[in-house]
């Protein structure tokens, strides 16, 4: 118990400090932070519809959080979850729009696998380059993110373009859409939430109960020792990136199959980058990541409501920036905490 408390101390305090600093930012533009935060909480949990909305937003965030968190556990910093998520959704959208004659029992798993495969393949490029040439995955995955953006923009204005207005792909076949678990007003919670929870279970089991998982973790913990112990570092780096990318691709494809039913430019909309905050707040632990995703999902949902007060939803990005900073330099938080402890 004590150990659990210790491990959540830093992220919890980091979130509180970030909310406090952001309150000053809100004061600086002449608004009332208490009122803003009250609206934020109400917007996220205030009604049945709000709660469903929060859960819908949390679904892909659990997956991108797992993607980045898995990467961290394996010693790679996958900053490219954003692009892998979009790539997963894009490839799945271009194929699954033709699934009209395939029954859901086949269409749904097939579409999921296509999305995961696309994400995995896209991330594996960075893993392969790191393993073979030493090119840092942060630089390569960021470049892959940009390439994804432009390729997606080409696809939805070119080969996949449908209708007028916002560039978008055609709708995927009804048989490839995820079943709806609950519907409140216009809010539909799809089975995507179950998929994301299952993915968390997968990550836990894979890392803690399998040999491959052990090897991936060993490479992440100390590549030199792992190599000495007969574990191939390069094979595991590629594998780690691919699994991380598969989780990000799964985030994209569940968003496609459960929410939008077609590919749009804003489908990924920063959720891949949110994954970084979520992994760090959740301390790269699957259970921690679920709660961290819920937190960021709630902030995202609630901040839409807050916009009506004249407080931009960008405050959530500021909060995330501060949280990541404090978790990265966790000694700041520990020092503040210890000083308080000594005083009392």
């Amino acid at each position: 118990m004590r150990k659990v408390l210790e491990s959540i101390l830093v992220p919890v305090l980091a979130v509180l400090i970030a909310l406090l600093i952001s309150a000053f930012v809100i004061v600086a533009i002449g608004k009332n932070p208490l009122q803003a935060y009250a609206v934020l909480v109400r917007g996220a949990f205030g009604s049945k519809q709000a709660i469903i909305d929060t859960l819908i937003k949390t679904t892909p965030l659990i997956l991108t959080g797992l993607a980045v968190g898995f990467g961290f556990r394996a010693g790679v910093f996958n900053i490219g979850a954003e692009g892998q998520m979009a790539m997963g959704a894009l490839i799945a959208a271009s194929i699954a729009s033709n699934f009209g004659n395939i029954p859901p029992v086949v269409a749904i798993p097939l579409t999921l696998v296509i999305g995961m495969g696309a994400g995995a393949g896209w991330a594996a490029i960075a893993g392969f380059l790191k393993a073979k040439t030493g090119a840092h995955e942060v630089v390569t995955t960021i470049m892959l993110n940009w390439i994804t953006t432009f390729v997606a923009s080409f696809m939805v204005t070119g080969p996949l373009a449908t209708g007028s207005g916002t560039p978008k792909s055609p709708e995927i076949a009804a048989s490839a859409q995820l079943p709806i678990l609950m519907k409140v007003g216009a809010m539909e919670l799809s089975a995507g939430i179950i998929i994301s929870l299952l993915a968390a279970v997968f990550m836990y089991v894979f890392l803690n109960k399998t040999t491959v998982g052990y090897e991936v973790k060993a490479v992440g913990f100390n590549p030199y020792a792992a190599e000495y112990g007969g574990i191939s570092v390069s094979k595991n780096v590629v594998l780690a990136m691919a699994i991380s990318g598969a989780l990000a691709g799964l985030a994209g494809v569940t968003e496609l199959m459960g929410v939008h039913h077609r590919f749009l430019g804003e489908l990924s909309g920063g959720k891949g980058f949110d994954g970084i905050s979520i992994a760090l707040i959740g301390q790269n632990n699957p259970i921690g990541i679920i709660f961290a995703a819920l937190l960021i999902g709630a902030l995202r949902t609630g901040s839409n409501e807050m916009q009506f007060l004249g407080v931009s939803k960008y405050i959530v990005i500021i909060v995330q920036g501060i949280v990541i900073f404090l978790v990265a330099a966790d000694r700041i938080v520990r020092t503040i905490y210890l000083r308080k402890k000594v005083k009392s």
């Binding site: 630089v139 470049m143 390439i147 960008y314 990541i324």
Partner: protein, 319 residues
């Protein structure tokens, strides 16, 4: 044949070289910033965010005061503040430098997005606030060809090359530069010899903030006179790639930035060629060229390009 001729015609057009220089300029600033930080042993991927902050701050203060150069000055101040945060987290608190950099990128995106409406009354992008005019070099402007390339061009281009010369001199010809390199290679040894490792690293990171903010100021008030959300567009990372390819040397970083600039300009000119008739929806594919090139170049060169030994490793004085 007509296509080949048309493609070749790009290279005899002085305008192409001018565009190449303007594409390269922010990359030169960014890569130089990378060199200053990493040569002392601090990885700084926050460059991307500092560029964005620089672009935003210069537009804000140009908008408020009407003075473009005051805008640039304030961009540098903002860059210094961001760099100070990065230095504080990575040097004083020995945090993970890549993760801290990510935090600062998010923070810059958050702050610039958040302040758009309170200051400009609209999200997304600002109106035109004023820009720094091109300068004409008397005499040079009249020289055929060369005059059309650098005779009349943004002063930032000259400032960028000036900064490279200054950076090279400082790093390789002064005592301070020697200390910077020593601290990045072997901080323990430098410390033993009485060099203040922390102070030198703070200096390197702060200088990277200055250069990155200039890259940002150039993109906004130096080029288009307005701010657009996320306008840094990956240049901080391409700058880091240029730094790696340039082997952590200011001149090398400049040369590889120029290389990226030439490719960027080439892709840009190629899609506007009459003879090729690129359909509008294919243009995004041309935009991927600099990013693909960056991956190829980084993957191809990185093994042969050695970073400073203590790059990215926090230094902690043993008691």
């Amino acid at each position: 044949m007509r296509v080949v001729e048309a493609v070749l015609s790009i290279f005899i057009n002085p305008q192409f070289y001018k565009i190449a220089l303007t594409v390269a300029t922010p990359l030169i600033f960014a890569s130089l910033g990378g060199v200053f930080s990493e040569i002392t042993g601090v990885v700084n991927i926050a460059l991307e965010g500092i560029i964005l902050m620089g672009a935003f701050t210069s537009v804000v203060f140009t908008y408020l005061t009407g003075n473009v150069w005051f805008g640039v000055l304030m961009a540098i101040v903002a860059g210094l503040l961001m760099a100070l945060l990065h230095a504080w987290g990575s040097i004083k608190w020995a945090g993970n430098q890549v993760v801290l950099g990510t935090a600062l990128i998010l923070l810059s995106q958050g702050i610039t997005g958040f302040l758009m409406e309170p200051i400009f009354g609209q999200p997304g992008q600002t109106d035109f606030v004023g820009k720094i005019d091109e300068i004409t070099i008397p005499g040079l402007a009249k020289v055929p060809f060369i005059g059309q390339v650098i005779g009349e061009i943004s002063p930032f281009v000259y400032i960028a090359f000036g900064c490279v010369a200054f950076g090279w001199w400082l790093i390789y010809k002064t005592k301070l530069g020697l200390r910077m390199r020593a601290v990045g290679e072997n901080p323990e040894a430098a410390d033993t010899l009485g060099v203040n490792v922390y102070a030198i690293r703070y200096f390197g990171v702060l200088m990277s903030g200055v250069f990155a903010s200039l890259a940002g100021a150039y993109l906004s008030v130096g080029e288009i006179g307005q701010f657009k959300e996320l306008m840094s567009g990956g240049r901080g990372f391409i700058g880091l790639a240029a730094m790696i390819v340039g082997k952590w040397n200011p001149i090398g970083a400049m040369l590889s930035s120029l290389f990226f600039g030439f490719f960027g300009a080439f892709a840009n000119q190629l899609q506007s060629l009459q003879q090729i008739q690129v359909p509008a929806n294919v243009k995004p594919l041309f935009d991927t060229i600099p990013f693909i090139l960056t991956i190829v170049v980084v993957a191809g060169v990185v093994g042969r390009s050695r970073p400073p030994k203590a790059d990215g490793v926090p230094y902690e004085k043993s008691a």
